[in-house]
Symmetry: C2
Subunit: 436 residues, 2 copies
């Protein structure tokens, strides 16, 4: 990037790792890696954590296992795990052998969980207390620990002898408790937890709904395994929203503005070919009516209007349904009710837009029949759009796929085919009437 000011390593050192990451992603791969090498290893490791997974993997490939282990040695176990998960299995094994032993053990245990679950997201930086200790004893214990090992926690977790979670104490309550109060008396026994296999959507939902600063993650036996922090939840929620927006239009969910075109190409092209196939299916419908179009070319003028308007209205319905399902504000059992609402809406919109299109057809092309056909096709296609806007995401969920997956491509396939079919089919009837 010749037009950018060269990046001075001294300046980088004084910045927040997230800001350094923001500068690096704008550089060509080679320059970014060179800049990373100039940084103190601990900072470089924290910068890597802030970079989107795909680019981070590219950067890491440029480092020898030893250098990589040095970068990662100072990271919390959950962040080290996120990075290790990006490596090929063989390189990962080499890296683990070079990491400090305790960190390597933590990383290895965390790698066992799928990365998109609570187990894969959780951190092991939490503090456990016993119910029979007093507030003062606990504070004294905590003060005795080396400062560096004290995680930035908001809640302290109370466990029994088998590490089963029995209560939670907000740090605030420990501070404000009388010194002789027992933890068992100040703790809250109603603890919301995340199962280790909770998925990203569920995690974001719990945090958004109940506004926690952190949530404990437990295994099937109720044993405390880790915590997920609200900052993780924010990151997850943003990633989920990005993914949904991208999946809808046939993107991978991982692409960013600065993703190199070589990578973007391989992912976009397959969906564009799927889209091309569906477009030709719709074109096949038009082709059935070529003889009519030759005789009445005005049909070709109205075709894209009917199909396009259905596509746009359908996208409105689809967007609301996909997003509300992701936010947990609509569940499949609400489907019938939402469908009814969307059909009512589509009927009214279809009548309004249909009348307008009909009037334009009559006034522009001087044919009342064209107006009637276009108006009626518009109304019918609005209904098809509303139906598929609700049915496509619900159907994808039923097939255990993401409700957003290629949903906009599917929707426009329906609205194109239905729109062409309604309009040209009705046109054939009108032409018979007219003796054309």
């Amino acid at each position: 990037m010749s037009q950018e000011t060269p990046i001075d390593p001294e300046t980088l050192r004084r910045q927040h790792p997230a800001d350094v990451a923001d500068l690096l992603i704008r550089l060509p791969l080679g320059e970014a890696v060179a800049a990373l090498r100039e940084l103190p290893p601990e900072l470089a490791g924290r910068v890597l954590v802030e970079i989107a997974p795909e680019a981070a993997a590219d950067y890491m490939d440029a480092f020898e296992p030893g250098a990589l282990a040095a970068l990662m040695a100072g990271l919390p176990s959950d962040e080290a795990t996120d990075l290790a998960a990006l490596l090929e299995p063989i390189r990962r094994r080499d890296l683990l052998a070079l990491l400090p032993e305790e960190l390597a053990l933590h990383v290895e245990s965390l790698l066992a969980y799928p990365p998109d679950t609570a187990g894969g997201i959780m951190s092991e930086d939490f503090i456990m207390l016993r119910a029979d200790r007093t507030a003062q004893e606990c504070q004294a214990d905590l003060r005795r620990r080396p400062r560096a090992t004290l995680p930035d926690v908001s809640y302290l977790y109370v466990t029994d002898g088998a590490r089963r979670l029995v209560g939670v104490v907000p740090l605030r309550d420990l501070v404000f408790a009388r010194p002789d109060q027992r933890i068992g008396d100040i703790m809250s026994r109603e603890v919301r937890t995340l199962p280790v296999d909770a998925d990203r959507e569920e995690i974001a939902l719990q945090f958004e709904r109940y506004r926690f600063l952190g949530l404990p993650v437990v295994d099937g036996q109720g044993r405390l395994q880790g915590i997920v922090k609200s900052s993780d939840a924010l990151e997850i929620a943003q990633a989920e929203a990005t993914e949904d927006m991208q999946l809808m239009v046939g993107l991978s969910g991982e692409e960013r503005s600065f993703t190199p075109w070589q990578k973007a190409l391989g992912r976009r092209l397959p969906w564009l070919y799927v889209n091309l196939a569906t477009a030709f299916a719709a074109a096949g419908v038009v082709s059935l009516f070529e003889a009519q179009i030759s005789r009445w070319a005005a049909l070709a003028v109205f075709l894209p209007v009917i199909a396009g308007q259905g596509g746009n209205a359908g996208m409105q319905t689809l967007t609301i349904v996909v997003r509300d399902m992701a936010l947990g504000e609509m569940s499949p059992r609400d489907g019938r009710r939402v469908l009814m609402k969307e059909l009512v809406l589509a009927a009214i919109v279809g009548l309004a837009i249909g009348l307008t299109v009909g009037a334009i057809g009559y006034l522009w092309k001087g044919s009342i029949e064209l107006g009637l056909v276009a108006g009626a096709a518009m109304l019918l296609n609005q209904l098809a759009a509303a139906f598929s806007g609700v049915a496509i995401p619900l159907g994808l969920r039923l097939l255990r796929l993401d409700p957003a997956l290629a949903s906009s491509i599917l929707l426009t396939t329906v609205t194109d085919i239905a729109g062409f079919f309604f309009f040209l089919g009705l046109a054939v009837l009108a032409m018979r009437q007219l003796g054309m």
Copy 2:
């Protein structure tokens, strides 16, 4: 909703306000309001806070000011402000006169800030310390306060005599400090702050980038005015993502699955009419070529393929740019670089898809000229799609509008008009060659 089990007030009482809200939004307005009336006022107030603003406003309209004041009397000032902001000015004045005096004062001061800014979002539940006190003195002070007035804080803020923010102490550090340490010695002096007028996007960005549990909000003189919590940031981030997804397709940003159709209609229809106008502009291009289409009806078959494929590829570019701009991962000065990448990608995609379409044109319709025209138009329209996918959101930002606003409608207008024009224009040239 006759098919739903009737809701028992006793059951509701034992649930989290967010869960009660989730049940209520599925009921008709009258039943939801009746259920709210059955709840203890304090719980009903907390339920109202959990309901999407638009529906909450409808519920609140059903209450007399006195009953509403009773619901809101127990709320934190920032939440009471959010609700008060939903009322008509006259009803709001009546309500404020009936609220407890201190709460009314807080609400009135918070109402001065626009609701989508840090000032409108912040809560006044924070704790201030002086730098010259010791850790022990501060803890003793805090313990003396009635428990109910102690907010659930993660950070304590250190201010000078003029309430200017001079440092921050994580609650954790206060707990783990030696009793005789002075606050001035344990506090961190590098405090990130939000200005009162920071917008939602900026707030979400700060939290996502730096992973805070809370951020102090300061006025122009650096005086502490409130705090924004990470749970607020999560809510804001979700609302921003929903709004962007909706704005792109011509929705208000406020619509939900359960928004009554009467409300949805008034908001969707204007954009659908805008879309209709743009569709007819594109249809006007087709109409210029009616004579050619009469002679060569296969043109009508390929028209929607060229335009639709451009629309889909353009939506991919647009989605990435809109989302990355919202996440702060792409700024307008990255525009040229992203545009170059998208154009390279479009050229390659256009060649691949163009060759395919050309081959289909030749094989299906038996005309090498049709294949050439369709393939070339496809390539050109892919370039137009990439250009407008980048230029539309950047242009909207330049006009100080939301980069998402109606962007998908604008984009398909470009890809329709450009697609029709390239394809039919080239077809005219081919027909001249062929002597048609």
